[in-house]
């Protein structure tokens, strides 16, 4: 009934979808699966009218249709519950649910009594305990997620899209949601369900479509397949769930403990993270998108303050209020969002390299031209950074070289610990190799490197140990012989959860 064929989407140079396809029948609940950057969220956005595909066609009942806006999508009988929520926080629960489809009363006014009745029955159906007149921003995240679904269900759609709606829900709320979904299925609604929780797929979905790097790689029926097969399609690795989880598996020898994070919790993504890093070690952080990795990096750096747990750096507990505090304490930070967080595109290459050093020391100290040049030259020579002319503006460099520049800036500062948040995102393979080489050199020289990366191969290659995050907790610690792609795949999908994390309530 609903079919997408040959969908392609490019965001500038990045290809999000290349010839992806998807189909779903009335009364069918289909899981849409894939790991980081596989394009599943983009597929949902195409159907919801938020993203316009470059090529491909969408068929409903065999007839091609055009979806150019959220309005088009709704008119074709498609309703979407988004992962990042489409509620307006400054509006009330009632107005949010009715938004865009309010019942008309006298003189074209909205019939509030009618909508109140409808909202109350909807809240009851989803067991959401809140006042219809409460502002959405005052509700807790799980209630907001349920509202998001309730809002979509109210439209009585022919196709319901659910994009990771269970991420912040508790088990009893999920049960309520699933029973509603089963009712809808029985009524003949087609449902596409995006999730990273594998057990949910087998619990409620009939079929599954697996995507990898923008392509549809497999279509399976959940009753005839196993979790291992699905994970194999997602990651092209046979999962191996025997992941060691405790610290005791690893013997640090006589190396100095540099970073010790104990039970870090941060509202709402990070729940309980403990990790350690020793001198001269590259520690990798990895996981599916949105499991709390960047949040932990930000907490270490003092961008955000944790709600619970302690961070010890070089034996002392840290209470950084600003990143500047962290920098003064010998911590460096390299971001994947070069343009936003790290680059000064109008300044020259040497000024960019010097920027980290300029942040230290007295505010009004005189900085000579020659000093800047010599400092930059030394950094470039030591680490063999081919970053064009030192006096050229940084914006003239390619993306890969810009990233090398940012790396050079911090390396030149010789921090005791260097934090990297997805530094090789959108960087060409050659520059990536060079950055990895530089990081290895630094670690050998005694620097501690914490590397968060969405490229799991990269981590397996250069990290000494890899912490795998799943739903705000550590689902596996891979080191030595256990550092295999198979085990990584299992840990990323949370298949080791029972063995590692605290048990969920029954």
């Amino acid at each position: 009934m609903f079919e997408m064929r040959g969908i392609e989407k490019r965001f500038d140079a990045v290809v999000a979808l290349k010839g992806a396809s998807l189909h779903v029948e009335p009364g069918e609940m289909r899981a849409l699966l894939g790991s980081n950057g596989s394009g599943k969220s983009t597929m949902v956005k195409v159907l919801a009218g938020l993203v316009k595909p470059n090529a491909g066609e969408i068929l409903i009942d065999g007839k091609p249709v055009l979806i150019r806006s959220g309005d088009d999508s709704r008119r074709l009988g498609i309703a979407t519950a988004f992962q990042d929520l489409s509620l307006v926080p400054t509006m009330t629960v009632r107005d949010n649910i009715m938004l865009g489809n309010e019942p008309r009363g006298v003189l074209g006014m909205v019939d509030d009594r009618k909508s109140q009745k409808e909202v109350l029955s909807l809240l009851e159906r989803f067991h959401i305990d809140c006042d219809p007149d409460a502002f959405v921003q005052t509700l807790m995240p799980s209630a907001q997620s349920m509202l998001e679904v309730a809002k979509a269900v109210r439209l009585k759609p022919r196709l319901l899209l659910l994009d990771e709606v269970t991420a912040s829900l508790h088990r009893d709320e999920i049960d309520v949601l699933f029973s509603v979904l089963r009712e809808l299925k029985a009524e003949g609604t087609a449902i596409i369900y995006v999730t990273h929780r594998m057990n949910e797929i087998f619990e409620i979905c009939d079929t599954a479509t697996v995507m990898r790097s923008g392509e549809t790689v497999a279509e399976v029926s959940t009753s005839e397949t196993t979790l291992d097969t699905i994970v194999y399609h997602m990651t092209s690795q046979q999962p191996d769930a025997k992941v060691p989880c405790g610290q005791e598996e690893f013997d640090p020898g006589d190396r100095e403990l540099v970073l010790d994070v104990q039970n870090l919790a941060m509202f709402p993504k990070v729940k309980d993270i403990s990790m350690r890093a020793y001198k001269g070690e590259i520690v990798g952080i990895c996981g599916l998108e949105g499991q709390g990795q960047p949040e932990v990096i930000h907490a270490l750096l003092g961008v955000t303050q944790p709600d619970g747990g302690q961070i010890f750096f070089q034996g002392k507990q840290t209470h950084y209020k600003f990143p500047a505090d962290a920098v003064n304490n010998d911590i460096g930070f390299i971001s994947g969002e070069r343009n936003v967080e790290a680059m000064f595109p109008m300044l020259t290459v040497e000024e960019n390299i010097f920027a980290g050093k300029a942040a230290k020391g007295p505010l009004f100290a005189y900085i000579g031209d020659k000093a800047v040049h010599a400092f930059a030259q030394k950094a470039v020579d030591t680490y063999n950074i081919k970053a064009g002319g030192l006096r050229q503006p940084a914006s003239s460099l390619s993306g890969g070289n810009q990233q090398k520049l940012v790396v050079a800036r911090w390396i030149a500062m010789q921090p005791a610990m260097l934090l990297l948040d997805d530094p090789t995102k959108g960087v060409d393979i050659h520059s990536r190799r060079e950055i990895q080489k530089i990081l290895k050199q630094c670690a050998e020289a005694g620097m501690t490197v914490i590397l968060n990366s969405s490229e799991s191969e990269e981590l397996l290659e250069i990290a000494d140990r890899v912490y795998v995050f799943y739903e705000g907790r550590v689902s596996g610690i891979l080191s030595g012989a256990a550092k295999t792609p198979e085990r990584l795949a299992a840990a990323m999908m949370g298949m080791t959860r029972e063995a590692c994390g605290p048990k969920e309530a029954e």
Partner: protein, 349 residues
């Protein structure tokens, strides 16, 4: 008792709360300084309304834009545009004043549409685009009417200064009309849509709303209210001046912010009424305080320049206070949030 308490708590959470408190405070102050009998005398009440109606209406028009997530600084000079067009239409074509007013209204709608086009469709930053438009409209005003001139037929401005039944100022009818318009609009789809677009344009789009269209509509409604305000201004001054009322743009903004409107989807037109009322009464109070001082201590010889300085300082304090209360509201919100989250976690375990 319990019900009153609950409704007070609910009122305290609404955005209009700070504005209302500030307004009531200055009202009480004004009553004390002026004395209730003089304040409520028909004449002084009438002057209060008729002299300040343009500002009140402009603040209400501005609040509509703030709710939909945009703003217009040129709103003040647009008043002068309505004034100039109305007077000149009547003078040049020898038509009744009412036709002049209609032309003025049309001019206001066109100016608002242009402003809306630049801000919503072309996506220029609202502050810069409307400032550029301010200068353009000023130029147009001077082209139409090179120097202050003209007059309004006597029966018109007499009507404006009329006291209906000896109690209700005629000018208050304008205020009432716009309040009724707002009460209606708030309950329509348009009313819901401006809140959604102001609160989060992307999510509004995902809900099937066209944000550009909604903002354009908001600009047109604002154009209508500014047209009314311009008519009030014309009746009030009974003459034309191409360069007047420019500062109403900034003053309407400060009225809205003092009234408790946030930028984008937070607040109601009531906030603008309270904020506007605050600005008006502060000036009134300061004026009477100075007259009182001059009478009691004639030796002091305080000039009227001091009045503006003092009232503007008080307005600045009012603005500061809204920041403090907004921050307090945000903090309690965040604390409640974390508390709820932690409770949820405990259930989880």
């Amino acid at each position: 008792m319990e019900a009153i308490k609950r409704s007070f708590i609910r009122f305290r959470r609404t955005p209009a709360f700070t504005g209302c408190i500030l307004f009531l405070a200055v009202l009480v102050l004004d009553l004390i300084i002026q004395g209730p009998s003089q304040f409520f005398s028909a004449k002084s009440l009438n002057t209060l309304f008729s002299k300040n109606m343009p500002l009140m209406l402009v603040a209400m028009a501005q609040s509509l834009l703030l709710i939909s997530g945009t703003l217009d600084i040129s709103i003040g000079i647009q008043l002068a545009l309505v004034n100039v067009v109305s007077i000149m239409t009547m003078q040049v074509w020898h038509v009744p004043m009412i036709v002049g007013f209609l032309m003025g209204m049309l001019a206001s709608l066109i100016a608002s549409a242009l402003c809306g086009f630049a801000i919503s469709v072309l996506r220029l930053p609202a502050m810069l685009a409307s400032y550029a438009l301010l200068i353009i409209i000023k130029g147009v005003n001077v082209l139409i009417m090179p120097k202050p001139q003209g007059n309004v037929p006597q029966e018109y401005y007499r009507t404006y200064d009329l006291l209906i039944g000896g109690v209700i100022p005629f000018s208050a009818l304008f205020l009432l009309a716009v309040i009724l318009l707002w009460l209606y609009l708030k309950r329509t789809k348009f009313g819901r849509n401006i809140y959604a677009v102001g609160g989060n344009p992307r999510n509004a789009f995902a809900a099937g709303i066209d944000p550009v269209r909604v903002q354009m509509q908001a600009f047109l409604v604002k154009g209508f209210i500014v047209g009314l305000a311009g008519i009030c201004l014309t009746l009030m001054t009974a003459s034309g001046n191409p360069l007047q009322a420019e500062d109403y743009g900034i003053r309407s903004l400060s009225a809205c912010i003092i009234g408790g409107l946030g930028f984008g989807g937070w607040g109601t037109m009531g906030c603008a009424v309270f904020g506007g009322g605050f600005l008006v009464l502060i000036q009134n109070t300061v004026y009477y305080t100075f007259t009182l001082l001059n009478r009691l201590m004639p030796a002091l010889k305080i000039t009227s320049y001091w009045q503006n300085l003092v009232s503007d300082c008080i307005i600045f304090l009012g603005l500061l206070m809204t920041i403090v209360t907004a921050k307090a509201q945000r903090e309690t919100l965040k604390q409640g949030f974390v508390k709820q989250f932690k409770r949820g976690e405990r259930i989880d375990k």
